[in-house]
Subunit: 133 residues, 4 copies
């Protein structure tokens, strides 16, 4: 996506490995949008009564992925302590959401796909955490 | 991106043309992230004093693109009045931001690219507005 | 709230009437949080099947109120065209959400209160629109 | 604010101490709006060159406070692991932002007030963390 091109044009890029950074931001964006879409699809299912926790945790995960995506996007005068705790919270949101979506994966394809996106986002956050050190 | 796959799996998709819808959401996401990145890059420029309005309008555009992206993503029981005014506000945010970024495009490549993304997002919103009727 | 004190300390405040501005921001904040809370309470109701549209429209209204609140908070180099369309979209979100919450007000107290907050926020946006001209 | 009334009307409130919960949400809201306002005021200062890090960290803190405020607001089927890491990230954002604002408190009143709000929000998050256990 084009935003990655803009990040590469920052006058003082951070020393963090760029590919790891860009991949994490893209996964946060995709996971945020996926969780908004999965919460919405779950809300329209006939068995919505059993989807309540999916809607809740997908909403949380969307909120956290978007906030993390924004913070990791910024390269001006970064604070690594903050970046680290944000990525850890994002990992937690993705893990919790994936676990809940897994429970409904057999009956609802959107939950199966959403769990995959969450795990991919978790991994990208883990890799950025490792790169930050 | 994977979120588009999840939107396709919604149990009761809206009657709006799907490709137009998916393109609009993707552009809102890319424009939101691009504007966050351009505001941040502008903040790190030596001539930040002359970039103040870029930072401000890119921040506005990021906020509005993300809100519009979320609302357009939801297909459950949509309200077209609301979707229409949101898309109109998003168009306004993209136009205003592109105009400001254009002024700095000759000196700052990130502003040139950001103005392009804003115009692409504006067009995708216009097309969804036309599809909604 | 304290944020209003900070807005008053802006080095170059906008010419918009300050009390109208501060009231609008406060209502956007309260309405955004109220809609998040009402969507969540509705999701926990036994008759969640009939609350699906409330959850959806409260989520939309929360997203739009928060984006509008941020944009109206910023006083640096404002663009009135953008502010106007944002406020109009916020009015639409509040009207649509209040109408839906009204339908459930007799059975669910949180919907009755949420509809009131939405109408108060709509009015504060209308007043700021009138002040901007 | 009215949103607190709605939270009290949730059909299945969490077992977390309600006053601690409501105070934390209110502080997250106030801190989020305060940081948006302080980032914006800093951007308009004549010495904007020396305010760059304030703008950046206030923007981060606003994003994180809003996300945490939303997640803590939801009482439906909560996940305490997630709530805990979110509150910890919010504490980090508040601490980092307060430290930076402190450096400018002598010259810019909005930074002095913003640092206070950040510390109040940090404390409210710490208290909710203690209540969750």
């Amino acid at each position: 996506m084009t935003f990655q091109e803009i990040i590469k044009l920052h006058p003082h890029p951070t020393s963090v490995d760029r590919d790891t950074l860009l991949r994490c931001i893209e996964e946060c964006l995709d996971c945020g949008a996926s969780c908004t879409a999965c919460a919405d699809a779950s809300l329209s299912e006939e068995d919505v009564q059993s989807m309540v926790r999916v809607v809740r945790l997908c909403s949380d995960c969307a909120d956290e992925c978007e906030a993390t995506g924004r913070i990791v996007t910024r390269q001006t005068a970064p604070d690594l302590r903050l970046m680290r705790t944000m990525l850890q919270a994002c990992v937690a949101a993705c893990v919790v959401c994936a676990e809940e979506c897994d429970k409904h994966a057999a009956h609802h394809e959107h939950c199966r796909v959403c769990a995959e996106v969450c795990r991919r986002c978790k991994q990208a956050c883990d890799e950025l955490l490792a790169a930050i050190g």
